[in-house]
């Protein structure tokens, strides 16, 4: 069942050139350390899936790891653009990036359908929007009871899900708390799942019988990476580094400056956590 691996081993074992991978965490518990290791291992031609690409996909895209992006909101939250994402879409730098764009509602439902083993999700969505004109993966379906037209999107079933969580126990059961995003869905939807955690403990200390726990057999590999979500945050462990998110705007605007920053803070690091 669950293997306990070092980050380097886990990424080497499960991320392959051309894979479809989803590093999830909805503005919380974003698996930055794992993303950085993917960059260090120079994986290529990845299809990256994520509702909010955030800084971590900006970095992966800017470092040339991605061939395609499936997403629903591609900005730096509260700050502005993701300049590396824009540069790839607008100018094909460092390589062209194919995009498949959804709304949050549709993408969340598509993860849900993936977790539920369904081929598609149905929802009331996209009415009047231009998005379906450009995304052939937005179709429609007719309710057999009311005749109503509903939107349909295909289930998301990545080859690999990577999430960060608060802790795992020694059997590999994982606890997630706070903003839980689509983490459970992506793990259940994916063929394999890597979970980086703040700590590995004897007892999960789940505070409620209804706490969000992923049983060990849903997880391929657990990796202890304290601080592995920085500059995102881990509820109960450390706070979001909003100053870094704000600083990223200037750090990433220029290609050279971006590459220098990545060289210094990501490429030269052993699996550890960069500080701005």
């Amino acid at each position: 069942m669950t293997e306990f691996l070092a980050l380097r081993e886990a990424i080497a074992a499960y991320v392959h050139d051309g894979s479809t991978i989803a590093l999830e965490g909805f503005t919380h518990l974003i698996p930055f350390a794992a993303g950085h290791e993917i960059i260090r291992q120079q994986k290529r031609n990845l299809t990256l899936v994520r509702m909010t690409p955030d800084l971590i996909y900006d970095q992966l895209i800017g470092m040339g790891c991605a061939r395609k992006l499936i997403f629903s909101w591609g900005g730096n939250p509260g700050v502005g653009s993701l300049h590396r994402l824009r540069d790839a879409v607008e100018h094909g730098w460092p390589r062209p990036l194919e995009i498949e764009e959804h709304s949050h509602a549709a993408m969340a439902a598509a993860y849900g359908a993936g977790a539920a083993g369904l081929p598609c999700a149905i929802l009331r969505a996209y009415q009047g929007s231009d998005l379906p004109r450009y995304n052939p993966n937005i179709r429609s379906i007719t309710c057999p009871f009311t005749g109503e037209q509903l939107a349909a999107v295909p289930a998301i079933r990545p080859d690999l899900a990577i999430i960060h969580a608060q802790r795992a126990d020694r059997a590999g059961n994982v606890l997630i708390e706070g903003i839980v995003g689509v983490q459970k869905e992506v793990v259940l939807a994916a063929r394999h799942a890597i979970v980086t955690v703040e700590e590995i403990v004897d007892d999960l200390r789940a505070p409620s019988p209804n706490s969000v726990v992923l049983p060990s057999w849903t997880v391929s590999a657990v990796v202890a990476v304290p601080g592995g979500a920085r500059p995102s945050y881990a509820h109960g462990y450390y706070r979001r580094d909003n100053a870094f998110y704000t600083a990223w705007d200037a750090l990433s605007r220029d290609r050279e400056r971006f590459l220098r920053w990545m060289e210094e803070h990501v490429l030269r690091e052993c699996p550890a956590v960069p500080q701005p």
Partner: protein, 260 residues
């Protein structure tokens, strides 16, 4: 007391919210306005962020839609699929608060691209929750600073459908909610005409002239028969607003004013 046009916009947006509203909140001015309402005349308002937090009562404004302040102060935090399926699509939300990069006379909003979708001049962040917030909340309010660049004759891309081509276009698409019943800018307040659904100026903020509004609008903007004047921010409103922004800036390690 002096105040900026941006402060006027936030205060005007806050005022339209009531104690009973269940409000789906976007980041930026919507979040500022909603929290201002909560800290002044609408302490019972429920703020819902798309990250899954229901009933958040943040002490400082979140930078992102999912800052720790939201979940730590919320009544409960649900998964994102549940947020969109049960709470938004399920019809629980009374008001959705939206912004955007471009808006047209029928309150269609573009937050996707400037230029063509396939070869964009500027790739914007995209719609996020907006397309369904606009179709599924009982009504939506739009807050946007007004200029010819943002209030345009025709949006480059309809990310979020407002009234389409006007009239009963919403109904023809099977959308049963009211839509963008209110657009609040730094100059004025606009509402859709009852029949045509074209936006009309129904109130000017104090000191703003019709000419200023006309100059800042990319289409020949109409004025309602009766145009009211927005009362200026009260001292109480301004002081709560400024305290909130100052706390926020300190908490995020930013310069004051950087995050509005």
């Amino acid at each position: 007391m002096n105040y900026s046009a941006t402060e006027m916009m936030a205060v005007a947006a806050a005022r339209v919210l009531t104690n009973d509203d269940i409000c789906f909140v976007g980041i930026g001015t919507p979040s500022l306005a909603c929290n201002l309402a909560r800290l002044t005349h609408a302490p019972g308002i429920t703020l819902i962020y798309e990250s899954g937090t229901i009933g958040a009562r943040p002490h400082v404004l979140p930078l992102s839609i999912g800052d720790p302040e939201l979940s730590e102060t919320a009544r409960t935090t649900v998964a994102v699929p549940e947020m969109f399926q049960y709470w938004l699509q399920g019809g629980c939300i009374s008001v959705g608060f939206l912004g955007g990069a471009q808006i047209d006379r029928y309150a269609n909003i573009n937050s996707s691209v400037i230029g063509s979708y396939e070869k964009p001049k500027v790739r914007l962040p995209g719609g996020g929750g907006a397309p369904e917030i606009a179709s599924l909340c009982r009504k939506t309010y739009v807050v946007m600073a007004q200029s010819r660049r943002s209030f345009v004759e025709r949006v480059d891309f309809i990310t979020t459908f407002g009234y389409g081509e006007g009239g009963d276009h919403r109904q023809r698409l099977g959308i049963h909610t009211e839509g963008p019943t209110l657009v609040i800018t730094d100059l004025c307040i606009m509402r859709p005409n009852l029949i045509t659904k074209e936006l009309e100026v129904t109130a000017l903020h104090q000191g703003v002239t019709r000419e200023q509004v006309i100059d800042a609008t990319g289409w020949p903007v109409r004025f309602a028969e009766r145009v009211e004047q927005t009362p200026p921010p009260t001292e109480a409103e301004l002081s709560v607003l400024r305290d909130l922004q100052a706390c926020t800036a300190r908490a995020h390690g930013l310069e004051v004013g950087q995050n509005d």
